[in-house]
């Protein structure tokens, strides 16, 4: 569960970072982003990337093992964003909603499962 949480957070982070790039922003939303929005997206992406390390740290316990695993998760998530941009860019909002919902569920569910 925690590994998946880390993965969806990474996906959201890279999606935000892709949206912060004018080329992909235009590809997805049909217009160039403003300066303010670019910075907002960059910061969101960076914060989410930072957050995605946290479930990995809990899951793997040992920091060195957790960091190696987290780097692997980064690769997989970045690859997923790149493939979405190439083959399913029309679905980007759906993947955003899906990953967002999954992240919230994965955060909240454990509270109910282990009260």
């Amino acid at each position: 569960m925690l590994v998946w949480l880390s993965l969806v957070l990474c996906y959201l982070a890279f999606l935000a970072l892709a949206l912060a790039m004018p080329r992909h922003h235009e590809q997805l939303r049909g217009r160039k982003p403003g300066r303010g929005l670019v910075w907002l997206l960059r910061i969101t992406g960076a914060v989410l990337l930072g957050l995605s390390a946290w479930p990995a740290l809990i899951w793997w316990g040992n920091p060195a093992v957790a960091v190696s695993s987290w780097l692997g998760i980064l690769s997989v998530a970045a690859f997923a964003v790149a493939m979405m941009l190439t083959y399913a860019s029309g679905w980007w909002r759906t993947t955003l909603a899906g990953a967002g919902t999954a992240a919230i569920l994965l955060l909240v569910l454990p509270v109910f499962l282990h009260p």
């Binding site: 890279f14 790039m21 080329r23 040992n62 060195a64 190696s68 692997g72 997989v76 790149a82």
Partner: protein
């Protein structure tokens, strides 16, 4: 120096990559599969597939050992785990050294205790060994070759990062169907997105070769004394005796598992021929990076109990080590990934596949660039002609040979003499044929024929498993035997990737006069 730093780096990247590219592709592909070498070996021994874990494998193992080896001085039990659902026993006579060299071994059904006799197989071990020692060459010579290739890989990574102008701008960019452009995108993407992994695996590989490549800097351990003379002691068998009544294992296992937060992987019963036998517990694997991970799969911690009272005699943790030693251990551990749980193993596997595709696409790119440049020439330059054909044998051919290796495992009779050797020969014969093939056929045809055949073999692997083993893919999934099922499922996935590649590479798909597009039509297999 050519026209500047970046161009020089591009030149370096191109030629180090080409010179050792095929070897690096083979190292990456076999090394990546080797992350799952015990799973592959398990798949290759269908005699074990019927064994499902029972309630008390340790108790079962003890009962069987008391039956088959009552006179032994020590017993060893390797418990089933998530990578290898098999219960293995070994024992040594008094005076004999237990372990790989001495003693006897036996595999039993983890539920019934029945003796199983798995076929001898080269298994995943062959692919693992091949990725750093190749085959049939003197060991240190082969290690030198692979060490040089590793160094070239490291050079290629660094020069590649410098050469790549738009590392951030094109971070997510893949433009399919655009010929050479697409190959460059695949090459860049698989390199950049898994860059931490590539740097880690290459650098740690180099460090593992340090003793080979820099023999003078290593403090050699003092030469070992003569091996203990076992024969005399073995000859004088002790008179039959009653086996000591050992304490129940379950509470000891629970105690160790609580202390380590890691299941017990191996149980040793020592000094069985003495008055007070001892029980040694070993964790399944290391849970940290900074300890020696050697060639054994288990962790370094030990717990020693009195076999009669169950009292803890000694508990050894991780040995103290200097910072340098810890870094050295950590690099070795990261490379071998024996500490890794299933999730991390999969992540490394995916990153390893990315590395395989990176090397393969780099090789294809070399041809693609030059084919475009010489598209109007009457004749291709000899180098281009050669590389184009070697690429097919090196990339598609190795994929085909690997698929064929799995088939050889099931088609060679289980009781054939020297069967492990036959499996290895089948692998090399297929690879050799695949390497010659492109010299007899037009390249586009050879690409798609070899990839198509590899796809066929991989997609038919689950039916072959069902026909030659006790559990089909569906049965394995039903039993929750995911080790067996995931090898079959991965074969289907790789088969589909090869089929897709073969379809993209089929001759006549792209008009012939545009060599630039013709080369683009080929796809890198092994995804």
């Amino acid at each position: 120096m050519k026209n500047g730093f970046r161009q020089s780096m591009a030149w370096l990247h191109t030629w180090t990559g080409l010179l050792l590219g095929w070897l690096l592709f083979a190292i990456f592909l076999t090394g990546t599969i080797a992350y799952f070498r015990s799973e592959v070996t398990y798949w290759m021994r269908p005699e074990l597939h019927g064994s499902v874990q029972g309630a008390d494998p340790a108790g079962l193992a003890l009962a069987r050992l008391a039956e088959v080896a009552p006179q032994a001085a020590s017993w060893n039990i390797t418990l089933p785990d998530e990578r290898n659902p098999v219960l293995a026993l070994s024992w040594a006579k008094p005076g004999e050294q237990a372990g790989r060299r001495g003693g006897e071994t036996m595999v039993i059904d983890a539920a019934t205790g029945a003796t199983l006799s798995p076929r001898p197989t080269a298994g995943g071990e062959f692919l693992y060994r091949f990725h750093f020692e190749l085959y049939g060459l003197p060991r240190s010579f082969a290690r030198w070759i692979v060490g040089i290739a590793t160094m070239a890989m490291f050079v290629a990574i660094i020069s590649g990062v410098i050469t790549h102008k738009k590392i951030f701008k094109e971070f997510f960019t893949f433009r399919p169907g655009k010929g050479q452009r697409s190959w460059l995108d695949i090459h860049n993407m698989t390199a950049v997105l898994a860059l931490p992994y590539h740097v880690m695996i290459t650098f740690s590989g180099l460090v593992l070769f340090a003793a080979t490549l820099m023999p003078l800097v290593v403090d050699r351990p003092a030469p070992r004394g003569p091996a203990p003379q076992a024969s005399a002691a073995v000859a004088a068998l002790p008179p039959p005796r009653a086996l000591p009544q050992l304490v129940p294992l379950a509470p000891l296992l629970a105690q160790a598992e609580a202390a380590w937060a890691m299941p017990v992987g191996r149980i040793g019963i020592e000094k069985l021929d003495g008055p007070r036998p001892e029980i040694v517990l070993v964790p399944q694997r290391n849970s940290v990076l900074t300890v020696q991970s050697g060639s054994g799969a288990n962790g370094v911690e030990r717990m020693r109990f009195d076999g009669l009272s169950g009292a803890l005699i000694e508990q050894t943790g991780r040995p103290e080590a200097s910072a340098t030693a810890k870094v050295n251990h950590a690099l070795g551990a990261l490379h071998r990934a024996r500490f890794a749980d299933t999730a991390l193993r999969w992540l490394f596997f995916v990153a390893g596949l990315a590395g395989t595709v990176m090397v393969g696409s780099g090789l294809v790119l070399w041809v693609s660039k030059r084919a475009a440049r010489h598209s109007r020439a009457e004749r291709q330059p000899r180098g281009l002609w050669l590389v184009e054909r070697l690429n097919i044998g090196g990339i598609a051919g190795l994929t085909l040979a690997t698929a064929g290796y799995f088939w050889a495992n099931r088609l060679i009779p289980a009781d054939a003499p020297e069967r492990a050797l036959l499996e290895i020969r089948a692998f090399f014969l297929i690879w050799l044929a695949a390497a010659v093939w492109p010299f007899l056929r037009p390249p586009a045809k050879a690409w798609s024929e070899q990839l198509g055949l590899a796809a066929l073999l991989l997609l038919a692997l689950p039916p072959l498993n069902a026909a030659t083993g006790p559990s089909s893919l569906l049965q394995a999934m039903g039993q929750g035997n995911w080790v067996l099922a995931s090898v079959d499922l991965m074969a289907i996935l790789c088969g589909l990737a090869c089929a897709h590649a073969a379809w993209r590479a089929r001759p006549g798909r792209v008009k012939a006069p545009k060599p630039r597009a013709r080369v683009q039509a080929s796809q890198v297999p092994g995804e």
